[in-house]
Every structure is written in C-alpha cells, then in structure tokens.
Symmetry: C2
Subunit: 204 residues, 2 copies
Amino acid sequence: MNGPHGVGQGEADSRHRSDTRARIQQVAVELFTEHGYDGTSLREIAERIDVTKAALYYHFKSKEDIVASLVQDYADQMDSLIAWGREQPRTAQTRREVLSRYVDIVAKGDQVFRMLHQNQASANMLGSMKRRGDLFKERIEFLIDLLTEPDAGLPERVRAAMAIGGISVGWMLFASRADRSELVNAVTEIAGEIAELPCPRAAR
Amino acid sequence: MNGPHGVGQGEADSRHRSDTRARIQQVAVELFTEHGYDGTSLREIAERIDVTKAALYYHFKSKEDIVASLVQDYADQMDSLIAWGREQPRTAQTRREVLSRYVDIVAKGDQVFRMLHQNQASANMLGSMKRRGDLFKERIEFLIDLLTEPDAGLPERVRAAMAIGGISVGWMLFASRADRSELVNAVTEIAGEIAELPCPRAAR
DNA sequence: GTCTATAGACGGATAGAC
DNA sequence: GTCTATCCGTCTATAGAC
C-alpha cells in the first residue's frame, strides 16, 4: 500500500513530494465543476498543468481516484458531524449547532462541495464510493434525522430538509460574490430560523 | 422546417404519429437522471425501447435535441412566471403567489426538474440553450429579484434564495415517497414562511 | 517523475437499403 | 420508420524509454 497512489494520504506525510499531485487536484476540481466529471478529460487536466496524461497516472491510479482523493475529506467531516450529533441531546441548541457546523463544512470545503453538487448524476464519478452510501442524499437524510424528532411528520421533516437545502443553495449562489464570513453568518442564522420555526403562525 | 425534427412540436399536431418519439423522451429522462447526460449513450436509450440508434436520429436530429425537447416546456413556464411576477405589485401576497406557482411548476415538471438538477455541470447538455441564459441559475436569480426589494441587502437576498432552494431540495428528497398534494402544501407553506420571516425574533 | 506511443473500447453521427 | 453497416473522433489506461 505504499508508493505514490493511495487515497488516504493527506498532506501530512509530505516529506518532499513534488507539488504536481496538489496541482492536479486543484485543476481537477475546477474543471470537474465547470465542465462536469465526464466532460473533463485527463488530457485537459494534463495540458493545464503542462504535463502529459501519463504523468497523471503516476500520481493517481485512475481518473476516479483523483476525485476520490478530493472527496474523502469532505465525507469524513460529514460523518464526524453526524456521529457527534447523534450523541447530543435533542435540543434547539443542538440543532443550531448542527446547522452551524454544517455551514462550516460547506464553507471550508467550498470547491469540492460545488463540484459534488454539479455532478450528482455522474455515475462514473465515485462509482466505488457510492456503494458505501450515496455521498449526498444519504448523509443529508441523517442530518434531517438530527434536526427532527424520531416521530416527526412530513411537514417537520420537509422543514428540516429545506433548512439544509437552503444552506446549499444559498452558498452556491452567493459564495463567489459575497463576503465569506458575512455569508456564513446570514446562512447560519436563516437556516436556524427555518429549522426552528419561531412562531407557528395561524396561517392556513 | 417540416419533418419529424423540430423542438417546438408539442403533442398538438399529433395526427397519427407513432409513440416512439414519446417513448424516447420518457426513457431519456429516466436515464439522464440516473446515469447523467454524458453517462447515457444513445445505444442504451435505443436498446431500452428496442429500436436501433439510427431510429433515434429519425425522431431527433441529435442527442442534445432530445434533451432540448424535454426542457423547452419547463423553461417556458419559468419565463412566464417571471414575466407575470414583474407586472405584479411587490406585496407579501405576490411573493406567496410566486412561490406557490414555482412549486406548481416544479411539481408538474417533476421528472425534467430532477434531470436538470442532477446534470447542472454537463456542458454538453443544452450547450445551445445555455447561450440564451443559464437555464437554472439565471432564472433563479430572477425569482430572487421578485421576492426582494430592489435595494435589498445580502441577508434578504440570501433568505429569498434559501426559500427557493428549499423548494428544490424539499421536493427532490420527498417527491418519490410522500403524497404529492401533501408535499406541495408543506413545501409551499414553509417556503412562504422562509421568505416572509413572520417574526423577526430577538435571538442570537 | 515525466515522456512518447499506442492499445482497446466506445461515443455520436451518417449513408443507404428496405 | 426502422434497419445494417460504417466512419471518425475521443477517451482511459498501459508499456517502456529516458
């Protein structure tokens, strides 16, 4: 399990590895987001960083391996959040904290997050990872569980889903234009309000 | 401009056309949603309905033309909604009505809506249509404009975005499992609350 | 670590018979 | 309207020199 390949390798053991690997990842994220996973060839990636296709295969054992290396960290953070949330009491404070931490993950993983959102249907992307649970949908369902009572009805669950979905869309639409911390605050605040429904209005 | 091709042809002039065209559309939507646009070959579509690739080319002049025929109706409805909204006074009632109509479009266009959401980054899909405005992002921005005052700040715009985004995600997650009209009501109701923020809580 | 060269497969699209 | 047969392009991935 040594050698240049291997998904789990963070920047930790960077004794003196060239930065080519990191440059591949950076360019890959950008192109996968812009043109889609299937719409991006290894040739394109290689050309952008001025190496050849074959060089990519020294650093990653396949195209899918490139994306896996990108997504691993994001998935781990989601799993940590879910695990943490399950150990907390089901209070309003916990729910706010879950949403806040989720926004942080989204904000921190920004580029990868956008890439995933834009490539949800790419069956080729993450074909192997998908078997361990749909990276997106399944984990979002778990978040919904954290935000609702076990016996919650449809409206409550829909409300939780909309809080989480709102975070995604809010971020995607404004991340490139607004001040980051300002956006984090606004999104977190509003998501919290959506989830809690402060006053159960008499409407309808 | 006659012959079998031509995007604009609804079911209106169906004197006695075979249903092959419609079956192609149906299968295409399903496969594009599941495996992505690039991940679906014309061979797959043809096999599913038990014709050959060449037959597809009798009904549609290209792969992209298939998807265009599907999306046209959805785009038109969005444009109608936006045009209608721009003529209305900027009242809370109008905003609720905009959201309600948007939910109806999503609910009615269900399958196409899902397909579009799952293939946002497929550059090949709708390459021609994109030039007339990004089908998704741009139109959602217009909806946000309808839901906010012209001088609205970031939080207000983010709030509107989250209401609309919440509709998408709420629908995507529950459409296959919940009762349709029940879901329409729940989503519409909650989106309205998000957009209006009934009581400006002193929280935080 | 990076290169050249190429294998091997599959994609969209077209021509022309029936 | 549907078929068979085929063209041509591009893709991932590998082999082996340097």
